[in-house]
């Protein structure tokens, strides 16, 4: 008997995606160039809120090579408001058209759009359009928007700027807090940031009137959902619409769902019967693509004198911006608000506030980094209050392997894991005991050293379509795949999951090759084309592989069964005596008796040379819906040194110990974690979309003003893994896409506060800049002398 092949699950195979991208052969949206293509530019409201009077387009229309102009009235006549895929339960819908009507309510909201022979001419035309704006009172502050005297954004629908609020709770947290010997509380401000993919958004819309076919190339994570939304907004059946996402230059959650410009490009293309391209420039991007994170968390923790936490409450206000974007603001803060801790009495209230700012949408982590910052920083405050070691405090309260599965107060179910193990690994990696023994003042130059931890869980994937329906979501929890044998002896894998850096082409091929037994190289991936893939959900929420692995396994099993049946006839054997090896089927005990897959597949495809009982064709489709979400987990540790005079600090080391279950491709996992960490570090330390309160203008809305990390800004990062198979997913995998964004802010804040513990410094606001540290230090010094 031949030696069994080494498993491909866990193999560091080269990526399917790499060669084309390395050669400049990728096909990004702006690389698509169609014959007779025109270009679109969008005119945007320069005020945070303004009544829109007359719009005079006469001069623009007269400009040579200007082909078509749309205003708010045209859009209302031709399309429905953008639909919301993830409505806020209990909240009214806020009709959101692709162009503003009588009033615009955030800086950058589209007001008019022009199509011309070139983008430059379209922009010239925008300069010639005269719009009567009457600025109106606005509000940009999240909590200020909920004040009684705040100007109300959606007066027809809502009496205030509170879109909705909802509560998850268990036990009697208020009573536990009232009787707890120690209660700590804090108000934490989480900054508004941008996902900032290196490729901004874009669309090429092509309406072939005779064929009644709308072909759309778009930079999106969800081609099938865009197709659904276009059909909902336009007088078109879904069957007329094909959405293609070839290569996507980064998504991070920001490229989910339909945007106003998508509708505009399609309306122009249908009116003109010519292809229309819109490529978002970077200045537009900062105002037009969804922003993320901004929230204020008010957290209370009650504990016994020995450090045992008895209750947690969190009332948080999440800033939605001016509209409910397709996905809206974060809900996951409510799901994981008790973190990896064993707390039965807890309550969380989520309030959604409307402000005159760009709409908020999904971004990697989507509520989890925000609540982790609030909870983990307050845990360290509790440790200082109780005078216990923060590591020990976490150890005391952390869920143990035997506590799992654990139903949280917000009714999420954590699957199996060993949270304490990653905590200890992180502590060992930064030599925590030695640090504690040496003390904080160990630099010759007087800088103080601190170590901070942040432990976390990450919800990955969705429990089920039923779970999503209960939350009002209008998409499914499944993934799907079609596997089709080809006459070269290979397998074509069709998926609606588009490729934006996550490596799904590689991981999918690995799973397929593992199950079928065929060479990894014999699998060709066809991704992101709604016209050439089964209906699916899309790549977000760290859910893709959890769901797709199940579908691929089922389809590959079906394809393999039929392959072996036909091969058994050819080899005069039985299916269970056969194995797939490379690009052939052979008798397991007699490797010399073999038939090529090209031969078997060709017989099956044309229906010749197969048993009369077999139908022709060799193709399998499968849909798989997970039964549960799976929770990745881990602990990060940061080592910082702080200059006492200036507040300047260095992150000298950053360690991440984490578990995402069974790893399909180790370099891909490391790449996801490392990339997420650097995004998390950027958001923690420097990135911020700042709005000036008086003018309502975005003041950090360009690449020069928004400080995304460069290579020089990244501290040394060490990654440590455990690999505990999830008990509830195919192959035991957990999601890994978002985990890196979660713990950096809390770990570094805790490290800085640890370094400055003798001065009583507390930090509650992000980003954590040297200026902010200096201010906190000054405030603390004024409040009291060092102990």
């Amino acid at each position: 008997m031949s030696a069994p092949r080494q498993s491909l699950i866990g193999a560091a195979l080269p990526r399917k995606e790499d060669d084309r991208l390395l050669r400049g052969d990728g096909l990004f949206t702006d690389d698509v160039q169609l014959a007779h293509q025109l270009e679109m530019a969008v005119g945007r409201c320069p005020f945070p809120r303004a009544a829109i009077g007359a719009i005079d387009v006469a001069q623009a229309r007269a400009l040579a090579d200007v082909r078509h102009i749309l205003t708010g009235a045209d859009v209302r006549a031709a399309s429905e408001p953008l639909t919301v895929l993830r409505p806020v339960p209990g909240a009214p819908l806020l009709p959101y058209y692709a162009l503003a009507g009588e009033e615009a309510i955030h800086e950058g909201q589209p007001v008019v759009s022009v199509v011309a022979a070139s983008r430059a001419i379209a922009e010239d035309a925008l300069e010639l359009i005269d719009i009567d704006y009457e600025p109106l009172p606005h509000v940009t502050d999240t909590l200020g928007a909920l004040a009684d005297d705040a100007p109300v954004l959606h007066r027809e629908t809502l009496p205030s700027n509170l879109l909705t609020s909802n509560v998850d709770r268990a036990g009697e947290p208020e009573a536990r807090l009232a009787e707890a010997p120690v209660v700590v509380e804090g108000r934490f401000h989480v900054n508004r940031v941008s996902a900032l993919p290196m490729e901004a958004r874009g669309i090429v819309a092509h309406w072939r009137a005779g064929a009644r076919t709308l072909e759309v190339h778009a930079s999106t994570q969800t081609p099938h959902l865009i197709r659904q939304q276009l059909a909902e907004c336009l007088p078109l059946d879904e069957g007329c619409i094909r959405v293609i996402a070839s290569d996507v230059g980064g998504g991070f959650g920001m490229k989910l769902g339909l945007y106003p410009e998508d509708v505009l490009a399609v309306l122009h293309a249908m009116a003109l019967r010519r292809p229309v391209k819109w490529i978002e420039d970077r200045l537009e991007f900062f105002r037009a693509s969804t922003q993320a994170r901004e929230a204020v968390h008010e957290v209370r923790i009650g504990a016994e004198a020995d450090g045992r936490i008895v209750a947690i409450t969190n009332q948080y206000t999440t800033d939605l911006g001016a509209w409910n974007s397709t996905y809206g603001s974060a809900q996951l803060s409510s799901v994981v608000f008790t973190g990896p801790y064993k707390v039965a009495d807890a309550a969380v209230e989520r309030r959604v506030a409307l402000t005159n700012k760009t709409p908020i949408g999904a971004y990697r982590g989507y509520g989890q980094p925000e609540v982790n910052f609030a909870l983990e920083v307050l845990i360290d405050r509790l440790a200082r209050r109780l005078d216990v070691d923060p590591l020990e405090l976490r150890r005391t309260n952390m869920l143990r392997p035997e506590d799992l599965p654990w139903t949280t107060p917000s009714r999420a179910v954590y699957d199996n894991g060993d949270y304490l193990k990653t905590l200890q690994m992180a502590a060992d990696a930064v030599d925590y005991d030695a640090h504690r023994a040496v003390g904080r003042e160990c630099h010759d130059d007087g800088r103080l050293t601190g170590i901070g931890f942040a432990s976390f869980v990450e919800r990955t994937g969705y429990a089920s379509a039923r779970f999503l329906a209960g939350r009002g979501s209008r998409f499914g929890a499944h993934e799907s795949v079609v596997l089709r044998a080809n006459r070269s002896g290979g397998i074509d894998l069709y998926t609606g999951v588009s490729t934006f850096g996550q490596g799904s082409e590689t991981a999918f091929a690995q799973v397929c090759a593992e199950v079928f037994g065929i060479d990894y190289e014999a699998i060709t991936i066809h991704a992101g084309d709604s016209g050439a893939s089964p209906l699916n959900t899309g790549a977000f929420a760290s859910r893709t592989l959890i769901a797709a692995a199940g579908a691929i396994r089922e389809a590959a099993d079906a394809l393999r069964d039929k392959t072996l049946r036909i091969a058994a006839m050819v080899l005069q054997s039985t299916p269970d005596a056969l194995e797939v090896h490379g690009r052939a089927v052979r008798v397991a005990d007699e490797p010399g008796r073999t038939v090529s897959l090209a031969d078997i597949f060709t017989r099956a495809i044309i229906g010749q040379g197969i048993s009369e009982d077999e139908a022709p064709g060799l193709e399998a489709a499968a849909h798989f819906e997970p039964s549960h979400a799976s929770f990745s987990f881990g602990t990060a540790a940061a080592v910082v040194s702080v200059d006492l005079e200036s507040g300047e600090f260095d992150v000298e080391r950053f360690v991440m110990a984490h578990d995402c279950g069974v790893v399909v491709n180790p370099p891909l996992v490391e790449g996801q974690v490392r990339g997420g960490l650097v995004q998390g570090l950027g958001a923690a330390l420097a990135e911020e979309l700042r709005y000036d309160a008086s003018t309502g203008q975005l003041v950090s809305g360009s690449m020069l003003d928004y400080f995304a990390p460069t290579i020089m800004d990244v501290p040394p990062i060490d990654l440590l893994h455990t690999e505990i198979p999830s008990s509830i997913t195919p192959f035991g995998v957990r999601g890994v896409g978002e985990v890196g964004t979660i713990p950096p802010a809390a770990a570094i804040t805790n490290a800085v506060c640890d370094a400055l513990a003798d001065y009583g410094v507390e930090i509650s606001t992000l980003p954590l800049t040297p200026e902010r540290v200096w201010q906190a230090l000054s405030a603390a010094r004024n409040a009291r002398e060092p102990r």
Partner: protein
């Protein structure tokens, strides 16, 4: 359109190019949309992100900060010139080996920067390589693998040595 376009001639990836360039079009748009070489990407059009980095007379240049007409007479190299037939070149192989790309949008910029460093013949420490790479942003990888890939490429004696 003669007032708004100007005839230019230059060498692109070893071939002579003669074309009319709109006077207000930057070099990256010209390469991409007039000549159809879309391997060079555009990310910010203000010289920060480095997606559009190309070689002009051997120097790494952010081509969004250069007008197309300034290419006149230059020797220009873009990412499309790197692979040797069906084979990736040593820099590309090093990126692949180190998983130094995810979405791939920034990759041409980093590759061209790496080529300019290689051509300079300087011996660079790891810290110096880091400093040299500061002009191109990446939002996916966290940079570590890009640093490893470029460092290995620069330290290899011959392109073939790293295969």
């Amino acid at each position: 359109m003669s007032g708004t376009e100007r005839a230019i001639a230059f060498r692109l990836n070893g071939e002579a190019v003669s074309a009319d360039a709109p006077v207000r079009m930057h070099a990256a748009d010209f390469l991409r949309h007039r000549l159809g070489w879309t391997g060079t990407h555009v990310g910010c059009e203000q010289g920060v992100c480095g997606m559009c980095t190309i070689l002009v007379d051997g120097a790494a240049i952010k081509s969004c900060l250069m007008l197309a007409v300034q290419l006149d007479g230059a020797e220009v190299t873009t990412v499309e010139a790197l692979a040797e037939g069906d084979r990736l070149n040593a820099a590309q192989e090093s990126f692949k080996r180190h998983h130094a790309l995810q979405c791939g949008y920034c990759t041409p910029g980093f590759l061209m920067l790496a080529e300019s460093l290689k051509a300079s013949g300087r011996t660079l420490s790891r810290a110096e390589v880091r400093e040299e790479l500061v002009g191109v942003l990446c939002r996916c990888t966290g940079y570590e693998n890009i640093l490893r890939a470029v460092e290995e490429y620069l330290n290899a004696d011959e392109p073939e040595a790293s295969r």
